[in-house]
Assembly symmetry: C2
């Protein structure tokens, strides 16, 4: 439990983000706004104006959904405390995701917490802010994610549902983002709040960061 | 495995829908579009034009996200085979959700499958299409959901992660929609496809419809 739990959350989207990477943790935050003892806010960020699709060219998907941001990067609010970075096939497009990398690098010094899900860790690695830190990512994509670390000094954890190192939390693949967010909520808003949200959502939490059924 | 697995999927949204009710199953469908042996399509339906928010007045939430539909009900495509109906606090507004009830009642005779998640079952019950069928819903909301059945003849199942009765699949609360969708994908596109999607998403499936940790 945090004496001053964070108020201002944000999520950053890019074309081809994975729906559950974002909406798993965001659903937990939505319910947190109902159950926490103090107000929270959420900014939905996108590099440019306009809706952001999970479906992007060249990914091999034929269906997707589109989400409306609340802010473009140019007018992102200055007071963000917690930034969530989802992953997906869209992270493989290093040119298209460069604005996300630039934003994370720019605002990281003012963040209280950076959270990534799945291959969102590759975007964080490219910023340099994971340098010398322990981190994890989707196990099926881990070799590619490791290759995205320019300094080659991130300490990748191959058996982890999620990893916390200082103020950086990285989740393993897709669904792991929910377990990470429940752990984050428990740490900062209280285990009772996290348990209440999980009961409402009928979610069976994996509460052990090293309980990773998908490592190999 | 279905000799002719469905092609045309749709999801129906309304103000105050729950993000994970929809995006849990939709993320499975998105990955299905990458891994299935035949093309699938998805229509995102909303009663009117414009973005649909998870955040609606009077729900007690302070944060949410907004999704862009592909079709209003007035121009919904005629060839929908599978319709997914999420739930949420927004289902308590019986006036605001009446257009959803009307749509489900209208297109059900042409659907191959109706799927509901959480209190989406209350909307389905109001249409009458669950009459005499076995169905389930969120366990914390079940008494209210039962009260939404005008004929009082839905056979509510109190211990179920999900229930299949004929061409109607109903999931328990929020997260249960993912387990139901994996079971649906396994049944119609093959267990190998479902298992491959779960591995990509690092999702530990609850594969037993009566394994319900949230019944009481």
């Amino acid at each position: 439990m945090d004496a001053q739990p964070p108020t201002n959350h944000a999520v950053v989207f890019f074309d081809g983000f994975q729906a559950l990477d974002a909406f798993g943790p965001l659903d937990v935050l939505n319910l947190l706004s109902l159950k926490a003892q103090h107000r929270i806010s959420l900014s939905v960020l996108r590099p440019q104006e306009g809706a952001v699709p999970t479906l992007a060219p060249g990914l091999g998907l034929t269906i997707g959904q589109s989400v409306l941001p609340t802010h473009s990067f140019a007018n992102a609010p200055p007071e963000i405390e917690v930034l969530l970075v989802p992953g997906a096939l869209g992270t493989r497009d290093t040119k298209a995701t460069q604005p996300v990398v630039d934003l994370v690098r720019k605002i990281f010094p003012k963040l209280r917490f950076l959270l990534t899900v799945c291959t969102g860790a590759a975007l964080a690695a490219r910023t340099g802010v994971l340098s010398s830190k322990r981190a994890t990512s989707n196990k099926l994509a881990l070799e590619w994610v490791v290759s995205q670390d320019p300094g080659n000094d991130v300490r990748w954890v191959r058996r982890a549902r999620w990893v916390q190192d200082g103020n950086v939390w990285t989740a393993s693949g897709v669904s792991a983002g929910m377990d990470m967010m429940y752990a984050f909520v428990a740490a900062h808003y209280g285990e009772d709040v996290a348990a209440s949200i999980a009961a409402t959502a009928e979610y069976t939490r994996n509460t052990h960061p090293t309980n990773d059924p998908f490592s190999f």
